[in-house]
Amino acid sequence: MSDTPMLDQLETGPWPSFVKDLKRTAAKKPQVKDLLGQLERSYEEKITHWKHGGIVGVLGYGSGIIGRYSDLPDDFPGLEHFHTMRINQPSGWFYTTAALRMLCDIWDQYGSGVMNMHGSTGDIIFLGTTTDNLEPCFQALAQKGFDIGGSGSAMRSPSCCCGPSRCEWSCYDTMEACYDITQEFQFELHRPGFPYKFKFKFSGCPNDCVAAVARADCSVIGVWKDDIRIDAAAVKAYAGGELKPKGGGAHVDKLDIQKDVVDLCPTQCMSWDGNALKINNRECNHCMHCINLMPQALRPGTEKGATILLGSHAPILEGAQMSWVIVPFMEMEKPFDGLKELGANIMEWWTENGKNRERVGELILRLGMREFCLAVGLDPVPQSIKTPRCNPFFFWHPEDFEAEAEGKTYIKL
C-alpha cells in the first residue's frame, strides 16, 4: 500500500498535480519523500507539523531566510531543518531557460529541489534546505547574479507587472522602476531595521495587475493626465462587430457601445451618438473600463506617470487596508529620484515613529495624515480622500492661525 493514500488522490484530475511532481523528485531526494510523508500526516491529522521558525540566515543579512523545523524529526529526519530561501526575482518574472536551469542546478545541489514559482510577494522560493547549506547556496547564486530577497522587519522584494515589456497600457516603466528601487534599497532589504515589513509594488496602469493597491505598503500605479487617445475608425469597427470586445477575451462577441461602454463609465463622462465617441477627459477617473473593452480603439494619453498610494497590508492587526492616494501624479523617469526621495522620507518617519509590528499605514492612521504629510514633505490633496471628514473634530495648529493672519481664507468669496 502507498505511504500517502490521501495525497495520492490528488494525483488525478486535470489540473497539474504537485503530488505527482513531488513524488518524482522524492525518488531522488529523501527529504522530499519525508516532505510527502509529513504532509500525508497533516492530511490525516488536520494540523501542521512545522514548528515555529527559528532565526537562521546568511552572513551579514538579517532577512531572506525563513527558519523551518519539523515537529516530527524522528519520523521525518530529512525535515529536521527545512528552511526557506527567498531569492529576489527579476522584474516581471522573465527568464531565459539558461538562467532557470542554472537556478535548478544550484537548488538541486544545496536544497530539496522543491520551490515556488513564485511566492506571494514575488520571490523565487526555495523550499527546504539545512542551516549549513544556506551560505554556500547564497554564494553560488550570487556568483550567477542572483541575490536573496527580503523577510522580517525589512524592505521586501519589490515586484511589478510586465508593464512596457508586454503591455500597451503601461504609463511608466514598471520593470525598470522595480529594478532601480530594489537596488536603491538593498541595505533596507537585507538588514531588518524597520518596525515591520515594507513592500513596494509597481503596476503600469489602474488595472493593477500586481494587486499593488491591496498588498504593498507603497503602491505605485501608472496613470495619465491628458486625454485618452481615440482611434475613431476602430471605435466604429467595435460598434460594427468587426473588432471583438477585450480583443476576444470576453464571453460576448459584439460590443454595444452605449450599454457596455458609455453607460458603465463610472463618471458618465462619455457619450456616443452612434457614430462618434466623445470623452470629457477632465471628468475621467482613469478607471480603464472603456480602454479594456476596446483595446484597439482607445489608449491612455501621452502625459504619463504614476500615482503613489500608501498603506496596504493584510489584516494584522487593525484589519486589512488598501493603499490610499498620497501623490496623485508623479513623473516616473529614470532615475526615479522623486520616488526614491519620498520612499526614503517615508521609511525614516515610520522607523522613527512606528511601534513594533506597526505597518506604515497603521502609523498614519494613528498619528494622522497631517503629521505624516508634513514629515515627508507632501501637501494635502483632495485626491487622497473619498470624502472629507463627517465629524467636527478637527485640529488647528499655530501655523494655521499665522496663515490666517496673513490673509488665508477657506473659501474664495
Binding site: G13, N116, P164, H251
Partner: protein
Amino acid sequence: MAEDRITDIGPPHYEQFLPPVIKANYGKWKYHEIPQPGVLKHVGESGDELYTVRCGAGRLLTTDYVREVCDIADKFCDGHVRWTSRNNIEFLTPKKENVEPLIAAIKAQGWPVGGTGHSVTSIVHTQGWIHCHTPAIDASGVVKAVMDDLFEYFGEHKLPAQVRISLACCLNMCGAVHCSDIAILGIHRTPPKIFHDKLRHVCEIPTTIASCPTGAIRPHPDKNIKSVVVNAERCMYCGNCYTMCPAMPLFDPEKGGVALLIGGKVSNAKHPPMFSRLGVPYLPNNPPRWPETCQAIRKILLAYANGANKWERVGEWITRIGWSRFFDICEIPFTFQHIDDYKWAYDTYNTSMHFKF
C-alpha cells in the same frame, strides 16, 4: 574568503532575460488581442507581433518541473519564458506558426492552457501544511481540488468577467486574499492552548501580551507560574500570540476549517477596488479534496455566472443586488459571524431603509 563574498547585488537586471522582440518593442506596444483562451497576441507600433501562451501550473513545483518548462521554451520560444503575477507560466514567441505546436506540446505535458480574459485563472495561494507553522488548512491541496473542479472555467471565456480566486491558510493572509472575487481562508476557531512550562522558557511575557489585538491575554494570576492566560471570550483565533510565542498553538483538527470571503477586486475598472467580505463563515477541513469547499465555490460561481450582467465582477454583481439577495440565492444562512464587530464595524451597518425583504 570573506572578501570574495558577494552581497547586496540585488536581482539580475531583467533586460538580459527579455526576448529580442520585446527589447525591440519595449514600451511601444500598440494593442493586444486574445485570439483564443490562453493565447495573447500583442502588436507593436512597429507592426511586430508577440504571441504569449499562458499555461496553468502548480505554484509548488520542483526543479524537474522547471526543467520541463525549459525544454518547451527552448523548443518553441528561443529559450524565453516568464511567470505571471498569478503563478501561471507564459511562453513567449514572435512566431505565429509556433503557437499551435507550442500549445500541443504543453497539452502533451498534461498542462492546461487558459487563464486569460473572462476565465477563472490560477489561484494565488500560500504554503499550508507543506511549509508553514500556522496554517489551519493546506494550500496546494485545496487549490488542486478547486481547480480540478472548476477546470472548465480555466480554458474558456464564459464568465461575465474575470474571476480571481485566492487562498490563504491562516489569518495572516499571505495570499492577500482580502481583495479577491472568491477568497478561501483557513481559519482556526479555538483559542490557543497554553503550555505553561514551555512558555516560561521560550516566550517573553510582555511581548506576548502585547501581541494580542483584542487584549485577550493577561499575565497568569499565579505569579509563580510565570505564564499567561487567555480570556477565551475575547479571543478571535488570529494566531498573533503564536507568532510571538510558540508555546501557544491554536490548532484544533476538528474545529479548524475554511471560510469563504467574496466579492473583492483590485482593478479600478468601473468600480474602485473592493474588499472581499465574509460569505460562508465555516466549511469543514476535509482533506484531501475539501469537497464542501469545492461545492460551495462552485455554487457561488454558478450563481454569479447566472445572475451577473455582462462585465460585472462578482463584487459588482453583489453590490447591485444587495448582500441579502446574494445570501438568498446562494442559500447561505445569515449568522452573527457575518456582522462585523471589529474596529471599523460601524461603516458596515445598514443605516438606511435600502434593503429587501
